[in-house]
């Protein structure tokens, strides 16, 4: 096949397995929310199918790539695809950041009578709207328009674990870049060293994040802590999920490095995962500034 000819992959059953897996997962989840007894098991089954599909599909792609079936055009297609996928992830986080900014800059002050809401002080005398403990005065569990809300005693200290985590994650970006340079220079041992360091930093980040959640939860900062708790846990939670996925992908790449799948020019999978890791890094900077710090 010359450069003027195109590469067309053969048909495969993995996509339809994936579609069935994703649907099973969601149907199970919805039934779980409805307290249907089999909801949880069906959801787990869906998850297993999705993981199975990932192994099967990506395994097939890896085999084809290693056996030299692909050409440069396929490589470029993968690159475009990964970039736009990351862009879509950016927009997903943007929705939650948007919610945070809107609530913090507009709707919470409005609740407290800012702008033209002159009746608020009349109707709710003594009410003062603050961002962290919106609408509540005393810590503990309060009933707010029929819903139980948890009022935290203290908030997470910015310059404690979050600052440490920032350092860890930024460092992991650096070690990953070193791994990339080593890959280009063809030093397999160094790549492995830097990759292990990156994964270890990522796992340390996750460990501290879990510890921080433990403290916060103990102090009463929960999903049910009003809009502050909602945005706090949704943003950091989705980020933590992405770090987890990123760490798993890095581990797979480490395994493939050991297998000798990459050479100095041909290593899209490595770069794709590296882009993803840097993206997760940048999101964390946003979190650190807007959720923990300001």
């Amino acid at each position: 096949m010359s450069e003027q000819e195109y590469y067309i992959p053969n048909g495969t059953y993995w996509p339809i397995v994936g579609s069935i897996g994703i649907s099973t997962l969601f149907v199970g989840f919805a039934n779980l929310m409805h307290d249907v007894s089999w909801g949880g098991s069906v959801m787990a089954l869906g998850f297993v199918i999705v993981v199975f599909m990932m192994f099967g599909w990506l395994g097939q792609v890896v085999n084809e790539s290693v056996s030299g079936t692909y050409n440069n055009q396929v490589d470029r297609s993968f690159r475009w695809g990964m970039s736009w996928f990351i862009f879509s992830e950016v927009m997903f986080f943007a929705a939650f950041f948007g919610a945070l900014f809107y609530a913090r800059a507009l709707s919470v002050p409005w609740l407290g009578g800012a702008d033209n809401n002159i009746f608020t002080p009349e109707l709710w005398s003594g009410f003062s709207a603050t961002w962290n403990q919106v609408a509540f005065s005393t810590p503990g569990t309060v009933l707010q328009s029929g819903v139980e809300m948890s009022v935290p005693t203290t908030l997470v200290d910015t310059w404690g674990l979050p600052a440490l985590n920032t350092a860890l994650l930024l460092l992991s970006g650096v070690t990953l870049t070193f791994a990339h340079h080593a890959l280009r220079a063809g030093h397999r041992d160094q790549i492995i060293g830097w990759m292990v360091a990156t994964i270890a930093l990522g796992l340390a980040f996750l460990g501290f994040q879990i510890a921080e959640y433990g403290h916060a939860y103990h102090d009463g900062l929960k999903l049910t802590s009003g809009i502050y708790g909602s945005t706090f846990y949704m943003l950091t939670g989705f980020h933590g999920f992405h770090v987890t996925v990123g760490a798993i992908m890095l581990t797979v790449i480490l395994y493939r490095v050991q297998k000798g799948h990459f050479d100095d020019k041909n290593h899209f999978a490595f770069e794709g995962v590296a882009w993803y890791w840097h993206f997760v890094d940048v999101v964390w900077l946003g979190l650190f500034i807007f959720v923990y710090w300001l």
């Binding site: 003027q4 992959p9 695809g81 997903f92 049910t224 009003g226």
Partner: protein
């Protein structure tokens, strides 16, 4: 990776046999066909819901169904038409035509393509199944405003949320594929500014989709958390705000309406140049107009929310930005007219639909401008005037664009001409009934008839009767389209490669034989 091993397998030659052809296919034509038939099926499901609505509204008073069920019908009609008909039909056309128009053998990521399609039947299966659950399906309108869709929603809302998630995944993967194809698979010599306008329109649409579908996923995730896990995104009791829902939803929603019209712009441009026998007037300005529409569409979303009590500065900003979009839209309309000016026009069915598209879409654009005026919108908001506006842009706009495209490219797909007489009949039935249905909605809307109610005041009775009659005629007429398509698949006058007189000059797809071979271009064509 330049050393390449030849792989021979059935995927490279003809289609596989039987059901597995459709389940495992990675062929852009097969997947395009699947998308188009799926959207056709959904058109009739969503259409029957509209018929239920119009039967109930034929006369004032409650005759046929209960208000609760009426709400489920309006909600599901809207969701199905938007996500199940217009969007998949455009994706189907993209799958069929983009590789042929840019000289590629297939889409860039064919396996992902299969996944994008097969997620859709699952998503709609889940959505429709809720209608048969004891509590009934979603009943909060296709815009699912909180707290109607959170605090006061039927518990089946969880199924709705997940079905939206699956549709979102499908759209995002599909769009990634389309962008990648356009950037990476063009034949040598086809620079960006030589790309056919349909390809351009889809490049911009796919960009919009990747930008806003994740936001939709975000907003339904917030709903999920509010409903099941006690967060307060849309609950003022915890410092959240139901209006936040509307902001996030419409940040998705307004680009979404352009997602539903841009590909139709592309199709109309091709058809008008073909049947006017003149190249499109102002190609460059067409590209710039579409790009500026796409950019502006991110900063107009709150024109759907003029009545929620935004600060005055917000109202003014969104009013002016909305009006600004009318400028690039006007550029496109003038270009289409200028293309027809002094052309030697013939009126085959695709051209009839394309001309009707230009005329009637413009009516929808004008009512949009009226709605963009804040003080006027205070009056029009949530009346049938809004319903008239968006049906004019979506039915004789987007749907006519799709139908025109189907007639235009059908001979290329099937190798047979469609029955022109029946096509003309289909056009005139559709054209008359669409206006009969949607034009009177302007009048009852301006007179104050609110949308989304199963009953109305007596003075609206006559117009509503006309609307209902028109809508039934419209619904029945579409059966004719299905008949015409099937007839052309089975038999008909053999189509030449260029199908339409002189179209051979206009695009790579017309250099291929009819029907186009299973794999379009296995060797790169040269574009000069």
């Amino acid at each position: 990776m330049s050393t390449v091993v030849e792989t021979h397998d059935h995927g490279l030659h003809g289609p596989a046999k039987g059901l597995t052809r459709w389940l495992f296919t990675t062929n852009h034509k097969d997947i395009g066909t699947l998308y188009l038939w799926f959207s056709c099926l959904m058109l009739f499901i969503g259409g029957s819901m509209a018929m239920v609505i119009r039967a109930e509204l034929f006369q004032p008073g409650l005759q046929i169904i209960q208000p609760e069920f009426f709400n489920q019908m309006t909600t599901n009609h809207g969701l199905i038409m938007v996500f199940g008909v217009i969007m998949p039909a455009f994706v189907g056309l993209a799958n069929w035509m983009i590789p042929m128009q840019i000289g590629a053998p297939d889409m860039a990521l064919p396996r992902l393509n299969n996944l994008s399609f097969w997620l859709l039947p699952m998503a709609f299966g889940i959505l429709l199944s809720t209608l048969f659950m004891p509590e009934g399906g979603p009943n909060f309108g296709w815009t699912f405003y909180a707290p109607l869709s959170t605090t006061y929603a039927p518990s089946t809302v969880n199924f709705f949320i997940f079905s939206v998630h699956i549709m979102g995944i499908s759209s995002i993967l599909g769009s990634i594929n389309i962008i990648t194809t356009i950037f990476n698979m063009r034949a040598p010599g086809m620079t960006l500014m030589k790309m056919p306008l349909f390809v351009w329109s889809w490049l911009i649409t796919a960009y919009l989709l990747i930008a806003v579908m994740p936001v939709l996923a975000g907003v339904v995730t917030m709903m999920l958390m509010d409903i099941n896990f006690g967060t307060s995104f849309f609950n003022a009791g915890g410092g959240g705000d139901p209006v936040l829902f509307q902001h996030v939803f419409w940040f998705f929603g307004h680009p979404e309406v352009y997602i539903m019209i841009l590909p139709a712009f592309g199709i109309a441009s091709h058809i008008i140049e073909t049947f006017s026998r003149k190249p499109i007037f102002g190609y460059t300005s067409m590209v710039y107009a579409m790009s500026s529409i796409a950019i502006l569409s991110f900063v107009v979303w709150a024109h759907h929310m003029f009545t929620v009590g935004m600060p005055l500065a917000g109202e003014l900003f969104f009013m002016y930005s909305t009006m600004l979009i009318a400028i690039p839209t006007g550029v496109k309309v003038f270009n289409w007219i200028a293309t027809m000016y002094k052309g030697s026009i013939s009126f085959e069915t695709p051209m009839l639909f394309a001309i009707a598209f230009v005329a009637l879409f413009t009516i929808g654009g004008f009512s949009g401008l009226m709605l963009a005026i804040v003080p006027a919108d205070f009056q029009y908001h949530d009346t049938y005037f809004v319903v008239a506006h968006f049906h004019y842009v979506l039915v004789p706009g987007s749907l006519f664009g799709i139908i025109a495209g189907v007639y235009y490219w059908l001979p290329k797909w099937t190798g047979n001409m469609y029955d022109e007489t029946l096509g003309q009949l289909h056009f005139w039935l559709t054209f008359v009934s669409v206006n009969l249905t949607f034009f009177p909605m302007h009048f009852v809307g301006l007179a104050g008839m609110p949308r989304r109610y199963p009953d109305y005041a007596l003075q609206f009775a006559d117009f509503n009767m006309i609307i209902s009659v028109g809508s039934f005629l419209f619904g029945i007429s579409q059966l004719l389209l299905v008949f015409i398509v099937i007839k052309s698949i089975r038999a008909g006058k053999k189509a030449k490669p260029e199908v339409w007189e002189g179209s051979g000059e206009l695009g790579l797809e017309w250099t291929l034989e009819s029907p186009a071979p299973y794999h379009t271009f296995t060797v790169q064509p040269e574009v000069k």
